[in-house]
């Protein structure tokens, strides 16, 4: 090697034809792909977690002496995973469009549609999860002769089955509240998990719109 690095640099770039700027007519091509891939990846991880929980729940409930509640939770989780998987697969039918802007916009529409369907499902599944949780707690708590002890200690309390009436009322009110707030809880839940990446999609679309206006 004869030249110094300064000379290599200078002489190399003197007649260099490769310093031609690449075309930037599809600026967001890679970026939109990355965003969509990230959402897909997160959905997949979420489905895996739900499936794992569906296996763990019955085992956990078995030790709590509430196997049926465990099975019920597992079935509910598996149904959620199945529905989630169906929705995630529909992403492949998305209109790729002529540009990355079209693609990202159809992805955004898809995302909103998925979230509104999720809200509808959550309206019923969240109260059910809640009831299963209450039932599990009651089963675990009711292991000993607690009902007979309560009978003795509070003879005035009305029992329906082996459960005090006030407990039925509290559980009922809480389930109704759960039913009422389920969509809000679902939105909060989704925001917690995917908030950042959803914001990214919206930011990118807004920026692309701004960019388009200038062109």
């Amino acid at each position: 090697m004869k030249n110094s690095i300064e000379e290599i640099w200078k002489e190399g770039f003197l007649n260099e034809k490769s310093l031609v700027a690449p075309k930037i007519n599809d600026l967001y091509n890679q970026k939109s792909k990355h965003v969509v891939d990230k959402v897909k990846r997160m959905f997949r991880v979420n489905l895996i977690i739900i499936s794992i929980l569906a296996i763990i729940f019955p085992i956990m409930h078995y030790f709590l002496d509430a196997i049926w509640q465990g099975v019920a939770a597992s079935v509910l989780l598996l149904l959620t995973a199945w529905y989630g998987n169906r929705l995630t697969r529909s992403i492949n039918k998305l209109d790729q469009g002529a540009t990355s802007f079209d693609y990202l916009q159809s992805f955004d529409r898809w995302l909103k549609d998925v979230l509104s369907r999720g809200e509808k499902v959550a309206r019923f599944s969240y109260p059910l999860y809640f009831l299963i949780a209450i039932s599990t707690m009651w089963s675990a708590w009711n292991k000993g002769p607690i009902t007979s002890k309560m009978y003795l200690k509070y003879p005035d309390v009305t029992f329906v089955g082996s459960v005090p009436l006030f407990a039925w009322i509290i559980a009922g009110v809480a389930t109704l509240l759960m039913l009422y707030f389920s969509d809000r809880i679902y939105r909060w839940d989704v925001r917690l998990m995917y908030g950042r990446v959803f914001d990214k999609v919206e930011e990118t679309i807004a920026e692309m719109e701004k960019l388009k206006q200038g062109l």
């Binding site: 690095i5 770039f13 260099e16 700027a21 690449p22 600026l27």
Partner: protein, 164 residues
């Protein structure tokens, strides 16, 4: 981004952006990604330009920031970054971005430096003064000379080993 903005404010400085992006990427695809992201970032931050420095200095600064950020991101996402001497043949072939073979070799050597050292040597080779280098990198000008000499020695060693 208006065509005028691209043609007036970016295109005349495309060589700077290309030189920097090439030092931080190992494939044509990555290079184009980095180049586009730099252009976008220049456009996004055009309103922040306060004319306290030259536009070219601004372009250097943004180019380096974007490249360093993207490199950090790709490392965090687990995308393997090869030290250039262990690059698979395919990437090495793709990486012959310039017609001048010595220049290609110099770039292979530069890519073996740390991210900041790469920025430093690129600015030095672009004949920026130590003060300008310090301004662009946001450091003090005190040790720039010593660091540049150390980096040059390292590059010479890498190139010497390659050519002999």
């Amino acid at each position: 981004m208006s065509k005028d903005f691209y043609q007036i404010s970016i295109l005349p400085f495309a060589a700077i952006i290309i030189k920097i992006c090439r030092a931080y990427t190992n494939s044509q695809e990555d290079f184009e990604d980095y180049y586009q992201e730099v252009c976008l970032q220049i456009w996004r931050s055009k309103d922040n330009f306060r004319e306290q420095c030259q536009w070219s200095t601004w372009v250097y600064r943004i180019s380096l920031n974007v490249c360093l950020t993207l490199l950090k991101k790709s490392k965090r996402n687990g995308q393997t970054y090869f030290a250039s001497d262990v690059l698979p043949d395919v990437i090495l072939i793709e990486n012959r971005a310039f017609e001048d073979e010595s220049l290609n070799q110099l770039y292979v050597a530069i890519r073996q430096l740390s991210e900041v050292d790469r920025a430093l040597i690129l600015l030095y080779l672009e004949e920026k003064s130590y003060q300008e280098i310090a301004d662009i990198l946001g450091t003090s000008a005190n040790n720039i000379g010593v660091r540049v000499n150390r980096i040059k020695e390292r590059l010479k060693k890498i190139l010497y080993e390659k050519f002999n």
